[in-house]
Amino acid sequence: MSDENTMHGGGWAELTTTALLGTGRQPLPPVERWPDRFGASAREVVDRADTGTEDPAALLLDLAALATVYRRAGGPPSRHVGPLAPPPSRTRPAPPTASCRRAADLLRAHGEDEDDGTLDLFHDWMLAVGSLGYRAPDDLLIGIRRLARGPLGRTAANGHRVEDLAATLLDERAAWLDALDPDAPTAPDPSDEEHWTHGTPTQRATWFAALRASDPRRAGEVLAATWRTEKAAHRKKLLPLLGHGLGPTDEPFLERALTDRSEEVRDTAHDLLIQLPGSAHAAAIASVLEPAVSVTAGRKHIRVEIDPSALDGASPLLWKSSQDRWRYRGKDALWAQFHRAARSAPLSWWRKMGVPEDLSTVRLKLTGVRWGGAHSEMLEIWAAAAIREGDGDWARALIDRCLAHPSLWDQLRDVGPLLDEYPPSRPAGALLDVLDHDERLRIAVDAIDRAHGDTAATAWLIEDALDQIPAPWPPSASRAALDHATAVIRPDRDGYARRVLRLLAHRTDIDVEGLAGSVDAELAAMSTTTHQGVEDARATLATRIAIREELS
């Protein structure tokens, strides 16, 4: 560990240079200043050269061997370094030892065998431990920190986001590690405009997103100021970032972007503006639609008449983008124009026109529309608006309407994704997102009651509604899921039954006196033969109870 060692410097460098050029061209370097006994041995080697019988190349290798051993024995070069900043004192307790050991076992077992449910149980462990105010165990801190960083948006079997479960457990020490980590992703400082004026496209986008998060208004101004000089590729990348923190102050700028040369930019501007129901753009769309829609209230029904031929086909708001052309391939062109505009109209306009939320009273009449799916696409138009505006009244009304007429779900399935998160087969998911937990539970219970054992039409609704109530469930949710599982535990519905059982096992509130016990008893009685779904559910429930007991 010597800092000053001639073999680290001059002598060795000379040997290397000679070897690099070759002893055929270079004389052996002098060894007079080599230190200690190595120096003495080296001088003996060089003396052999004077006899003239030895190959200088062999002598050089012998000298190098001496030097190598000397250097290696000296160990690595050391330098003076300061200590780490001391870690902050910790305010939260670590979980009890038994609990830590279980968590480590769950994680380790998961590493060996994918998809055997141990990761789900680890998520349950994080929920239980986090809700009691414990911090992550030290030896799992890095693993949990990794979960907190993503991939973002994954939902655990207990209904919580994995990153949220993990983040709850991170304490002062995790922040200390972040500060030490040379590879930690650091958010750019929004006050430093250097990133914007001189950064790479990615750096600029990252900085812009950070600014938008901290000062949305300022971000809007910054983008508007450079907009004219941005390349189309950059405009496409930056404009969607306005979706975060969108507000009325963005409207003038977005109006400008509606006339952009790039079709993709125009589409993005349109999508953003219709998220502002009070915007002039939304009002303009409504006024284009108005000639094609008439609503008349009768004694029992409200008649909604749609006549796409009454649209002013020249209106620029009916332009079809390439995306739309794909969506409406082979369909009725007039209806397509109407559909695109109607999908963007605010709910307030439909209300003003006299369309009631209670769709059961509505009778639709479509004039001159040849496209057979148009009826269910009207539902989709209202669903899209309800989801976009987060309007619970409309969402509830749409779901109730479909519950009353389960065949409507099947039709909704064909009409394309309402939101990216949900596949076309699960249109209810996005609507349920708008509602609160109580409402979802009511819908689930309602759907289960109506299902009478044959649930094909509303299965997705029930599963989505249950899935969107995170643990711990109110006892009535466990009851409903149990009833439902009993009804669907049939060979032809096995996959579905297992998913319902899995939700039941991970979300039943084990802190409610006697609930877990009675659920387990009913599970045991549910199937006369061994059913893997039932077995797994009982094992999960038992493990969750064990996890809970280790914490008390």
Binding site: G22, L61, V69, R71, G75, V81, P83, L141, A174
Partner: protein, 461 residues
């Protein structure tokens, strides 16, 4: 089963079986198989200490499973790489519950036990012969040994010429040629039965910052090996053994087992696999309570499962036999007296002893140990040390291992891809800025961490 049967006394408890499980999922699977309905043709032979049975699996033929209770050692026809597999665990659990009847071993279980006994006898006889010096080599084997010696000699003379040629014409040629000439020479060394030399040549690189210095160092050490081999007979015995080992003369199992046994309680602290020339090399580091550290190296061909008898976290009370040589941390496991697989009493005591701050060495001492090792065996690349009083720090985005005096040396971890990152942070998450005992490989250029020892077990670094 009669309550006064010998078997009932010797029957294991469920806890004992559980402790053998390699991981939680194997245990879960084993438990599922521990029902009498999964098994047929089960039996236990108290005299021969073997349990066996046939387990209905997904395939056409049932898996045949047997456990030698004296080891324990396992035999199963299933393809699982876990040791013991779920079938062996299920069978043992079934037996522990008292559902396996006593009967003399026959069929495949008897054959397997016979084979084991025969192999054990042969090895024991060879070891005994070797230890007592009555191991007269046959004329044929003497001839073979002499022939090999001549081949190696010729090969090394060839290598010496090649080395001096390189230095005479200049190492700069490698800039144009790349490592191809090294590879060619390595192949010649394989033909000359000097695989140790071939491996050294193959592990050299002719690229990257400072490659010239590293190539010169390796060439110089190879020439030193050639010179040492020329005077093998005049070298002290341990050094001669080192030279032979570095060149790649084979060391037989019997030779090593004939070395004196070092009995200790050994904690398995780290395991690392590396793929070298179509072989998987598995290195396992064991820390003894005496302060001695051993490395057990095993090889497996492609398609073979690496040896899993020593897994991190285990503690064994065993005789270790160290390879002959000047700095022998490489060892072989002889007799195992007791084994603890899951942080039981044995492991907890061992960890307490190992992590006792009074016993472990500091950074300066670690480099003294390294210097001693290099002095005794110039071809040493690194020395495993149980280190304390130092911890990783970051300075200018680089990691150093720093002791209380403020000296820092370059720090690497063994399992991080490039720069030390996640693993180092994992260590810091556990010990904050308080240094904790860790097993490291001290090399000439850096310290490479292997495992952090905590009272709860080792964390790989």
């Amino acid at each position: 089963m009669a309550p006064d049967s010998v078997l009932d006394m010797d029957r294991w408890s469920t806890d004992q079986v559980v402790a053998l499980a390699p991981d939680a999922s194997s245990l879960t699977a084993g438990r599922k198989l521990s029902t009498a309905s999964s098994w047929s043709g089960t039996g236990v032979d108290a005299g021969r200490l073997v349990v066996w049975g046939a387990c209905r699996g997904s395939g056409k033929n049932p898996y045949r499973t047997a456990v030698d209770l004296s080891g324990p050692a396992y035999k199963c026809s299933c393809p699982s790489r876990k040791i013991p597999c779920k079938h062996a665990l299920g069978l043992l659990l079934l037996w522990a519950d008292g559902h396996v009847a006593e009967t003399p071993a026959e069929g495949f279980a008897a054959e397997w036990m016979d084979g084991r006994a025969e192999r054990a006898e042969k090895t024991a006889a060879k070891v005994a012969a070797r230890a007592s010096g009555t191991d007269e080599p046959s004329a044929a084997s003497t001839r073979r040994t002499r022939a090999r010696r001549h081949r190696v000699e010729a090969g090394l003379e060839d290598l010496d010429l090649w080395l001096t040629d390189q230095v005479r014409t200049g190492l700069a040629r490698f800039e144009a040629s790349g490592p191809a000439p090294l590879e060619e020479t390595a192949a010649r060394m394989v033909d000359a039965q000097a695989p140790g030399v071939a491996t050294r040549l193959r592990s050299m690189t002719t690229a990257g910052e400072g490659w010239q210095g590293r190539v010169l160092e390796e060439f110089a050490l190879l020439r030193l090996l050639v010179s040492a081999h020329r005077r093998l007979e005049t070298l002290p015995t341990p050094l001669a053994a080192t030279v032979r080992a570095r060149i790649g003369y084979p060391t037989t199992r019997e030779e090593v087992l004939a070395e004196p046994a070092v009995r200790d309680t050994w904690y398995v602290a780290a395991l690392r696999d590396s793929d070298e020339e179509n072989l998987t090399t598995r290195r396992v580091w064991l820390c003894g309570t005496s302060g001695r550290i051993a490395t057990v190296v095993t090889f497996s061909a492609p398609g073979q499962f690496p040896d899993a008898s020593l897994m991190p976290g285990m503690t064994i009370d065993a005789d270790l036999h160290f390879h002959p040589g000047t700095h022998p941390d490489r060892a072989m496991v002889g007799t195992v007296h007791a084994m603890d697989r899951s942080s039981g009493a044995l492991t907890t005591t061992t960890l307490t002893t190992l992590t006792d701050p009074a016993r472990v060495v500091g950074l300066a001492e670690a480099f003294d140990l390294h210097a001693d090792a290099v002095g005794a065996d110039p071809w040493t690349t690194s020395v495993p040390v149980l280190l304390s009083g130092a911890g990783p720090v970051v300075a200018d985005t680089e990691w150093f291992l720093r002791d209380a005096s403020g000296h820092g040396v370059p720090w690497r971890t063994s399992w991080d891809e490039a720069a030390p990152g996640t693993r180092t942070l994992a260590a810091l998450a556990v010990h904050g800025d308080t240094p904790m005992p860790m097993l490291v490989d001290v090399g000439a250029r850096e310290v490479r961490a292997l495992a952090l020892l905590t009272p709860n077990g080792a964390i790989k670094l």
